[in-house]
Amino acid sequence: MSKDNISIDAEKKKTPAHGMGHGPMGRGMVGMAEKPKDFKGTMRKLIAYLKPYRVLISVVFVFAIASTIFSIASPKILGNATNQIVSDYVKANAYDQITAKLPAGYQIPAGTNGNDFLKNLPEAMLSKIHSNTLDSIKSLDLSQKPTFNFGKIRYYAIILISLYLFAALMTYIQGWIMSGVAQDISYKLRRQISEKINRLPLSYFDKRTYGDVLSRVTNDVDTLSQTLNQSLSQAVSSVVMIIGILAMMFWINWLMTLVSLVLLPLSILIISFIVKRSQKLFKDQQNSLGDIDGHIEEMYAGHNVMRVFNGKARSIAKFNSINDKLYESSWKSQFLSGLLIPITTFVGNLNFVGVAIVGGWLAIKGTIQIGDIQAFIQYVNQFNQPVSQVAQITNVLQSAAAAAERVFEFLEEKDELAELAKPVVLNEVKGAVEFDNVVFGYSPDKTIIHKFNTKIEPGAKIAIVGPTGAGKTTMVNLLMRFYDVSKGAIKIDGVDIRDMRRADLRKLFGMVLQDTWLFNGTLKDNIAYGKPDATMKQIESAAVAASANHFIHALPHGYKMELNEEADNISSGEKQLLTIARAMLAKTPMLILDEATSSVDTRTEILIQKAMEKLMKGKTSFVIAHRLSTIRNADLILVMRDGNIVEQGKHEELLKKKGFYASLYNSQFVTSKTA
């Protein structure tokens, strides 16, 4: 049967965040910043979270600043080395030019320097020589060819090597510490969320999907940790870098600095324009993606129906129109966001050209040296990165704040009502249950149970009947205190259940629900779920009593068989038997049961029924009943409709009433010639 049904439930569970507005694709994409509702407040809370790490974070900041300063200093020193080479080269060149004109074999006497040579030159020639060349010629010893000052160059090289090494080491240490802090915080947040899940009242989950909570645990915490990991120290070093580079550039030459800064506002303007435009396009793309995913999911899930009703052509037509839209927004957003790099590169190149021209001109004038141009070019190249980082930091912070906000929002939700300071502890439970003027509604404005009164004797069997969706699980919710009554009280052996600890109350009930919740683990662990310290013998005898032993042994690995993630490697009937075994093992004085319906074949059904009967013996049991035999011999039948308890009483009494129950009951047996 399951083979014939195309089911996407499993997949839906796997990707809960899909199509929820902030799914995995939604965030983290270029230029997609989600805005938090309260940026300041969230930031304050986030900073409070960072407080225990303040020493580490200060160290990170100090290291970030130091490594940035080191890396800012190095181009200038490298430039100095180049200057040294250039000036040595100029001297050597001048010597060559002077000596080239001398007759062959002529030896310049020792002690002759450039000054002596210049004195002999005619005025006309002298004026042609540039002033800074003149300076280097003046101090030139003409008696021998000048050599390169490699000692000085080596000195610069050693300084540079140590600077580079220090900067690298500090960058690494800083990253090492920060990833530790970020991971630590993510760990804590995730743990808090997981604990919070167990403290929230069930009503919280009425309004929200599981996917929403799941995406807070994974996506939001991830976004936050990534921001902490990278952006925090990056922001600091970017700012230091901008200031430092500017200072160095001005130090080298103000004119060149101004020339390169002329382009800065231009590039910032272009960047912010692109970011803004592409944000809108990314949103369009995201919407189209959502549409197309939705259509694909829907069509694949309903493939049979689509096929048999000849819907293929229409389905493909719809797909094509969404796909076209997706293509448009996709290439445009890709193009626009892809412009960021070429445009900044282009502006960088313009800068490069500007620096080369102005620098060349200044160098000829002798205002600066070639090594300075080289250093300057390096600075210009380095400048772009921190600028665009700072430009994006607001986006990054905003999406981090939005993520943090969702996490905090969840953590700050109101907990379940606190337990009493001195809870009542029942020692021996008889199992008498009393509903005393119970009033209840899932939301305050819609009461569904109005002043419900009844007394149930210990060991009685209560059947809850009604059409699908009539609210039969409401009774379960109230008895187990998943929800609290609005008015009145539910009493067990005369004690208001709100006076007990929730844990103690819940220990009184065994529960077997239609919605058989089993977890990813072995069969043995699943049976022992309510009693983790149970021995293998106890587990096996519970399974025998629940008629589960037989099929368990027929399965591969028997009790040690692992249920898979979706718990669909055993049949639904087998699952039900397992949950019965689970309840058997827990040995509770009272029971809440949900009878199997049509999803189980008849023979398994008989097994389940027998197991349930065995389980119920002598215990006060609440049974959500579908089977007539259960209903008829119940001590009390509660008839539910649209959430309300509309009738209560025994089978015969209710039939005599000729009310809703009677019509429900009779409709099963009067058939007409039907399809």
Binding site: S194, I197, I316, G360, W361, P532, R603, Q668
Partner: protein, 597 residues
């Protein structure tokens, strides 16, 4: 995997333009250091201002050209990448639309969805990235190497060393990190699993007071995830400072050894600085190119998954020579039908033969796994029989044009499958041109009129994806209305009444009875009460027909049927029913007699 490149074919003109632009960009970018060298060698050192200006303007022009070329490169990369993805997506989707259940089972629905969405998206991202950044890298590297070698052959070893060190670094880091990246994905899945377990099992966890155990479970997953994350992060943190160090040492090395060459007049200063720029471009190009080895394997998984879909030939398609039946009444015949799922050893259905006649209701009952649903799924060819024949109006279903076969069948699935749109679009899904009256009539028969009226916008009321805004019973009723609206000759109900309460069920079937009087009706049922009055009941057990006949006959003769009946109804009730049926029959008889008079 390479086959996916055929989807690039329509874009060949764009690709050529793109490649030309890449060449322009690369050449322009590498021209700049040459001009700079010229400025230094022929401008600054000989102190010639005109060379500086002249060359500077040339540089400006070249970098402008390069800039325009990159914009073009980016433009075509985006268009080619997105267009490619669009075409692949269309190919995959229309292929899947032709799949039968055999293919759906082979891939699984969820996997098909991922292949059509995420996998293609992944491929698009990688393709655009490759076009934008990786394609230019080998060209850039090659030209820069040539230029660098030409400028100062004796310094080339510095570049070679730097490249080797860098590749070594990348390979080391990623060979440690890669398996952990995969592990990380698994750990995240695990964390999600535990969280989902906590959420879906909220009641059970609380009922058994096992909050602490679940928290512990979560904490274990959380701890391993955090530790692995930390390790990977700290490993990746190495990359940036190490690469910086490499670039810086390369520059320093060039200055140091370059100075020696300059001192013996083997190298001009401007050329030394140009060499440095080349070196940076070369190392950068290798860095870019090494990304290929990181991103392409990731994409290749997706490509393989997508190509597997595209290369699949659907098993069930239109016949080469379709046959049209001479008469059309909706007579369904199974002749010695045996069916087994692909790769399964044992058949699900053995030698099934029966006839379902127009004007009759044929019900199929049996325990889970007995093959009931499989049997009726063979009629609309969700699967094809392994051997034997299924005939409709005397023609094998495999000889029908699919479209014609489908118009004969009103199929109602087990779960009410609806599509997003409106109530109207859903009821008229199989008959988009149906008249208003047909729709309202279908709604009336399916007992939907009342709740549609309550939806607010009547037939215009929106239906969300999968019909999530409607209850199970409402969905079932609408999918019944959808089948009625196409006025089929054959109705197939695959346990389609299970979500209805007894009363609605009864009303619906009474109304339906009139509609389907002349039609062939096949019902798969779990509840015996649903089929008590069927003309023919087929009892299935382990893929075989173990009994045929009406309720009365089967109650007398058929053991399996007796068992099923006994498990659902008490003796008393069975008797009570019998009285009801007899009374009904007498009433029907009287009506017929009355009509005859």
């Amino acid at each position: 995997m390479i086959k996916i490149l055929k989807f690039l074919k329509p874009y060949w003109l764009w690709i050529i333009t793109f490649l030309v632009l890449v060449v322009i960009y690369v050449v322009a970018t590498l021209q700049l250091p040459d001009y700079m060298a010229k400025i230094i060698n022929q401008g600054i050192l000989p102190q010639d201002n005109s060379v500086v200006w002249h060359t500077g303007l040339l540089m400006l022009g070249v970098s402008l050209l390069g800039g325009i070329a990159t914009i073009g490169v980016n433009y075509y990369a985006s268009r080619i990448g997105s267009g490619f993805a669009k075409d692949v997506r269309t190919a995959v989707f229309s292929k899947v639309e032709d799949f039968s259940l055999t293919e759906f089972n082979r891939f699984s629905t969820s996997s098909l969805i991922t292949r059509s969405t995420n996998d293609i998206q992944q491929i698009q991202m990688v393709l655009i990235m490759v076009l934008r950044q990786v394609v230019q890298a080998p060209l850039m590297g090659a030209i820069a190497v040539a230029k660098a070698y030409h400028t100062a052959p004796s310094l080339s070893w510095i570049i070679a060393l730097a490249v080797i060190l860098m590749l070594g670094l990348i390979i080391t880091v990623f060979s440690i990190a890669m398996p952990r990246f995969q592990l990380l994905q698994k750990l995240i899945d695990k964390l999600n699993l535990v969280t989902r377990e906590n959420l879906t099992g909220l009641r059970v966890i609380r009922a058994f007071n096992n909050e602490k155990i679940q928290e512990k479970k979560f904490d274990d997953a959380n701890r391993t995830l955090t530790d692995t994350n930390l390790f990977v992060n700290r490993l990746m943190v190495v990359m940036f400072p190490a690469l910086m160090l490499l670039f810086n040492f390369a520059a320093l090395g060039i200055i140091w050894y370059g100075a020696k060459l300059v001192s013996i007049n083997n190298l001009e200063i401007g050329n030394m600085l140009a060499f440095m720029q080349y070196a940076m471009q070369i190392i950068g190009a290798f860095l870019m190119f090494s990304f290929v080895f990181i991103i392409v394997p990731r994409a290749s998984v997706s490509i393989k998954r997508v190509m597997a879909v595209i290369n699949t030939k659907p098993e069930i398609k239109d016949p080469d020579k379709p046959i049209k039946p001479t008469k059309s009444s909706g007579l369904v015949e199974f002749k010695n039908v045996t069916f087994s799922y692909p790769v399964a050893d044992i058949p699900v259905l053995y030698d099934i033969s029966f006839t379902a006649k127009p004007g009759q209701t044929t019900a199929i009952i049996g325990s889970t796994g007995s093959g009931k649903s499989t049997m009726i799924n063979l009629i609309p060819r969700f699967y094809d029989v392994t051997s034997g024949h299924i005939l409709i109006d005397g023609v094998d279903v495999r000889d029908y044009k699919l479209e014609n076969l489908y118009t004969k069948i009103g199929y109602v699935p087990q779960r009410g499958v609806l599509f997003s749109g409106s109530v109207e679009s859903n009821i008229k899904y199989g008959a988009p041109r149906a008249k208003e009256s047909v729709m309202t009539e279908a709604a009336r028969i399916s007992q939907s009129t009342e709740f549609i009226g309550k939806l607010g916008n009547s037939f215009e009321a929106p239906v969300s994806q999968g019909g999530a805004n409607l209850s199970g019973g409402q969905k079932q009723r609408l999918s019944i209305a959808r089948a009625i609206a196409i006025k089929p000759e054959i109705y197939i109900f695959d346990d389609s009444f299970s979500a209805l309460d007894f009363k609605t069920d009864l009303n619906l079937r009474t109304a339906l009875a009139k509609e389907v009087k002349q039609k062939t009706v096949l019902i798969v049922a779990q509840r015996i009460s649903t089929i008590l009055s069927a003309d023919k009941i087929i009892v299935m057990n382990d893929g075989k027909i173990v009994g045929q006949g009406n309720h009365k006959k089967l109650m007398k003769e058929n053991k399996v049927y007796q068992e099923i009946a006994a498990s659902q109804l008490s003796e008393e009730e069975l008797k009570a029913y019998q009285v009801g049926v007899d009374r009904q029959k007498t009433a029907n008889l009287k009506m017929v007699e009355g009509g005859a008079k």
